[in-house]
């Protein structure tokens, strides 16, 4: 039986990881476990941009994969980027085992607004489901309510739900069944 593993990257709130578990378990029908190890992201830091290169983090995460891993989701509070874009909310290996999601730009405070912990948690869950969706080969979805809908700004994240639409779910479920060997 394989597991969906959550890997804390840098200083990330344990409570957030605990909130994520039931949400991703429900969507992907697979048991989820928070790893006790932690990845220090400093190797991926870009001094000029003051951001962390998500693709490099994904590469480093490979070494955390075990025989038990169905998927490995890195969760971080640092700001992520890929060289051509100003930022990313997360990155995933399309049809691969690893994905990373950043909580940095999901906080209301970043936009000069009062903190909203509930909204923040919802955004992290939606983006975690979204990146994990890419690992089961899902591309972006036209249904704006689906977690796989493209969202390049928090307003778009707020519009969608944390669950997959029927079409995306029908792709995700068999993928989970085959590769995890377990139907949760």
């Amino acid at each position: 039986m394989k597991l969906l593993q959550l890997l804390p990257i840098g200083n990330v709130d344990d409570g957030l990881l605990k909130d994520l578990r039931p949400a991703v378990e429900e969507t992907f029908h697979v048991s989820c476990k928070v790893l006790s190890v932690r990845l220090d992201p400093e190797f991926a830091y870009h001094g000029e941009r003051q951001q962390y290169h998500s693709s490099e983090i994904l590469r480093r995460m490979q070494s955390f994969l075990t025989d038990d891993s169905w998927r490995l989701l890195g969760v971080t509070a640092v700001d992520l980027y890929i060289p051509i874009l100003t930022f990313v909310f997360g990155e995933a290996q399309m049809g691969g085992p690893c994905a990373v999601v950043s909580a940095h730009r999901l906080r209301q405070e970043l936009y000069g607004l009062p903190a909203d912990p509930k909204l923040f948690r919802q955004r992290v869950i939606k983006e975690a489901v979204h990146e994990l969706g890419h690992t089961v080969s899902l591309t972006h979805c036209d249904d704006y309510r689906c977690a796989m809908a493209p969202s390049h700004a928090v307003e778009w994240i707020d519009l969608k739900e944390s669950t997959l639409c029927t079409a995306c779910q029908s792709v995700a479920t068999p993928a989970t069944k085959v590769s995890s060997g377990h139907f949760f």
Binding site: S55, I84, L85, T86, H152
Partner: protein
Amino acid sequence: MSTLGKLLIVDDELSVRDSLGKWFREEGYDVTTLENAGDALTQLAAQRWDVALVDIKMHGTDGIELQRRMHEIDPELLVIIMTGYASVETAVAALKNGAYDYVTKPLDPDDIAHLVKNALAHKRTAQENVLLRETVAEVARPEDMVGQSGPMRKVFEAVETVGPTDATVLITGESGTGKELVARAIHQASSRRFHPLVAIHCGALTETLLESELFGHEKGAFTGAQFRKKGKFEIAEGGTIFLDEIGDISLRTQTDLLRVLQEREITRVGGNQTIKVDFRCIAATNKDLEKLIEEGKFRPDLFYRLNVFRIELPPLRERRDDIPPLVNHFVQKFSMAMNKRITRVAPAAMNQLQEQPWLGNVRELENAVERAMVVGQEPELKEQDFIFKSQGAANGSSKTLEDMERAYILRVVEECGGNQSHAAELLDIDRVTLYHKLKKYGWTRTPVETR
């Protein structure tokens, strides 16, 4: 699985190709990444993309040059230039060369997602627009040009030859031969067909009105000019202007017209600003312009400007073989318009139609068929539905008004048994007037009295 569109990314940095390629694939695009201009041009010769994202700074051929060469291969490709830092020069160079837009690296995810999405929507709308225009052009093709005779085949060939060129055309021929139809066919066969065809009947307007119609006028240019008005040359921008009855314009307007044809710019009446205009000119006349030149009524230099390619339309009497197909065409046209199920013309009537002089040419024939369609009964038009001219009339010896008056008065007087008072009453003229007319026409009572 269908994709949102086909994207090509050309950048010599591997990290950009990989990261942007992956990012757009996740978005749902079919992405190809290439590392240099040479590869891009080679591949573009073999396949098509909807949008290309091209780095401005690459080894060898830069993005601006690549974009120019890509458009030589595929003019419909939308190119977005990616630049390391924004500068006015870069933007101007890119956009001047026909780039769809340019973006600064690193790209804002929301901006680039919208830009590519909008570019694809723009392209699809443009493609749809072309398709619709072609469909409309197909439906709206001038169909009234009917004829299989030798002279008309030559006309069709001439239209086909000159249509796609931008040459000025002079169409000559008698009234009613279809000069405007030929002008429309030339316009339809040209690359200007998606722009307006503006027809102006020069003979119908006074000199000052024609000037204002052709060149437009500024507010207050003359009494009644309450608003600025665009002239026909401005309205025809990009399209064709058809100057009908060109032989009827004054020498002064001829001078102005010559200047427009030479300079391709106009000045509105009452204005002093010159306006560049882009048009093709087709002129038509039923007059003998060479003769008008000899008489000093037409400028030879304007004639030479207009007479670049000449199409002479034959009168209908010189192509009588075309009368049956023309009649059938008009029958079909009016049966649809009048909702009458008349589908043919009796052979005797058709023979008569072919014998008529048709001095008014196709227009007269069309009117004759229209009239017959009004009075005719389904399913065919018969001889009695047409008004045929007698052979004498056909020879041009038609009766004068005086002849007709004489015949009518004598007939009424005879019907009244020679009673002039009664006849005057029926004719609604006084008895003295009738008396004078009878005297003039040499009427005597004798034949009546012998009855």
